[in-house]
């Protein structure tokens, strides 16, 4: 955050959902600025509104109050200008399209010429190392490969911002670590800003330049932890002293926000996702 204008700026964002007999406060008083080129993780217990917040940034959900600016303009404009790519927990690839055709989908919609589409898709599939599988159908690929294809699709139109909603949540631990390495490589090569929702403390620490810790009911930002691990981050990073310190710091930040009565509601992923120190 060295003086460059923020690519995302949230000003006292709040969100209420209507429920039977009233409304529930999902988010309250969210203030956050994300600089261009940052990698920011949102972490918190289930129901803390982190996925909702991601969708508010992407203008998939309207906030009840507050302001959302992306790239210096209102979120609606940013969406219409196709300023961001989206990756979900499931790959959401289309069965009837080959991997290559899936990656080309946003380009088709954006009226890119056929030649540019093919070239761009080839570049993206190279980037995610799926070039050999471009003629395959999604169901012929493993879960990790499908998710890489989804990332290629999200990056195909060179969005300035990548919004990722627990993209590796459905993958096993080994695959997830490999995907984390890949994602960092892609992030470093493309210079895209990434906002990343996760349940996993180690994942958040390993990837991010900042970890935003959220609490539940109402969803609020309680801590923002700067991750000063040197880059490039590789396997030795996962075994470094500083890494464990930061994992502990994030865990304690999460715990401090949690009443004793909420301990039972902890997500299994938060506990089992931790490495044994």
């Amino acid at each position: 955050m060295t003086g460059s204008p923020p690519i995302v700026r949230l000003g006292s964002v709040g969100k209420q959902f209507a429920v039977a007999g009233g409304s529930t406060v999902a988010l309250e008083g969210i203030e956050l600025a994300i600089a261009a080129g940052e990698f920011v993780s949102l972490i918190g217990p289930s129901g803390c509104g982190k996925s909702t917040l991601l969708r508010i940034i992407g203008d998939l959900i309207r906030p009840s109050s507050g302001t959302v600016e992306v790239n210096g303009k209102p979120a609606v404009r940013a969406r219409r200008d196709r300023d961001y790519g989206m990756v979900f927990q499931a790959p959401v690839l289309f069965d009837w399209r080959t991997i290559e055709q899936n990656v080309q989908l946003p380009l088709e919609i954006m009226n890119t010429t056929r030649g540019d589409r093919a070239r761009r898709a080839a570049e993206m599939l190279d980037l995610v190392e799926l070039a050999d599988f471009r003629r395959h159908y999604p169901w012929q690929l493993s879960g990790g490969m499908q998710q890489r294809a989804a990332i290629a699709r999200a990056l195909a139109f060179e969005p300035k911002l990548l919004l990722m909603d627990e993209p590796f949540g459905a993958l096993d631990e080994m695959t997830r670590e490999r995907m984390n390495d890949e994602l960092l490589r892609i992030w470093e090569r493309t210079g895209t800003t990434i906002v990343f929702v996760t349940h996993s403390i180690p994942e958040a620490v390993f990837l991010s330049s900042r970890v935003v810790v959220m609490s539940r009911r109402p969803g609020r930002i309680t801590h923002v932890i700067d991750v000063d691990l040197p880059r490039p981050r590789t396997d030795p990073t996962r075994e470094s002293e500083r890494y464990f310190e930061l994992v502990t710091a994030v865990r304690e930040a999460l715990r401090s926000e949690r009443g004793a009565e909420d301990l039972g509601a902890l997500d299994a992923a938060e506990i089992t996702g931790e490495p044994l120190a």
Partner: protein
């Protein structure tokens, strides 16, 4: 959630019974089933029908007397298989220059044309209705009761009225056929168009696309497997519709007319009506198979097609 179910919830293909070996096996089992039916048919007549008198015109009078006598199985009610097969090769009527087979092929083409047009009209109408329903919950709530009511009215009651409105020509026939066709398409298309993962719709929203792209790039392709299921039902229904539609219009040259005519002549030649009934079945099976081939081609690379 497994990887397979994550790709918009459709099954990954299993090993399918396609290729040459599969086709041969399919043909062999088809022939075997026909053979079994013929054997069962003739066995029933042997045990409880009339004694044999001739086979394909050749006098043949074995000293066989059936053990039982059941009225339903006599030659009047259940002609011998070879009588029915033979009927295709004999003149359609006493003074006719054409064999019954030739007449029925002509009639099947005539009726088939109406059925195909009715199928196409019904499928398009059914699909448009579904597209409207998927985009407007209000219209869906308002119109669905009438769509359902339309299908509870017996077509034999409605067909004469359609003839009064549209006239005694092929337009009525096509309309009756379309009437029987659109309903399965609407039901399946509503389901199919609504089948994409909500995240797929969010993805499209993130691309800032209009409803047209969502329909054409996501909803419609996702609905295709559902649509083909409906098309297969509708293909056979369209034949029924065309035949039923021909009767009140009094149109000559189709299977509907042939059924009426041979129904009147049943006493003198029961095998002719049976032959006509089988011609109707063959027409229905033909349209069904055309849809199935189209399905295999269109859904290539997706999930494995079944025999239905």
């Amino acid at each position: 959630m497994t990887a397979a179910s994550a790709t918009l919830g459709r099954r990954a293909p299993t090993v399918s019974a396609h290729g040459l070996g599969g086709m041969l096996r399919g043909a062999a089992s088809f022939v075997a089933v026909i053979a079994l039916l013929v054997i069962a048919w003739e066995a029933a007549k042997w045990i409880a029908g009339d004694p044999w008198r001739e086979v394909l015109g050749v006098p043949f009078e074995p000293p066989h007397v059936p053990w039982l006598d059941i009225k339903q199985l006599n030659d009047q009610n259940l002609p011998h298989v070879w009588e029915i097969v033979g009927a295709y090769f004999r003149p359609a009527t006493r003074n006719s220059d054409f064999t019954l087979g030739a007449v029925l092929i002509d009639a099947a083409i005539f009726t088939g044309r109406s059925a195909v047009l009715g199928f196409a009209a019904g499928a398009i109408f059914g699909l448009i209705l579904a597209i409207v329903f998927v985009h407007s919950a209000l219209l869906e709530r308002a119109l669905v009761p009438y769509v359902i009511a339309s299908q509870t009215v017996p077509i034999v009651a409605l067909a004469p009225m359609i003839v009064l409105w549209v006239g005694r020509d092929w337009g009525s026939v096509v309309l009756v056929s379309a009437y029987l066709t659109f309903f399965p398409v609407t039901i399946a298309a509503v389901r199919g168009l609504a089948s994409p993962d909500p995240r797929a719709l969010e993805l499209m929203r993130s691309y800032a696309t209009g409803w047209w792209h969502v329909l054409w790039k996501v909803r419609f392709p996702a609905a295709l497997p559902y649509l083909f299921t409906a098309f297969k039902i509708s293909a056979t229904a369209s034949v029924v519709g065309a035949i039923v539609g021909e009767e009140p219009t009094g149109i000559r040259g189709g299977l509907g007319r042939a059924i009426l005519q041979f129904n009147e002549q049943y006493i003198s030649g029961p095998e002719k009506l049976w032959a006509t009934v089988f011609a109707c079945a063959v027409l229905g099976i033909t349209l069904f198979l055309i849809v199935r081939v189209a399905e295999t081609l269109v859904l290539r690379g997706r999930s494995a097609p079944s025999d239905l």
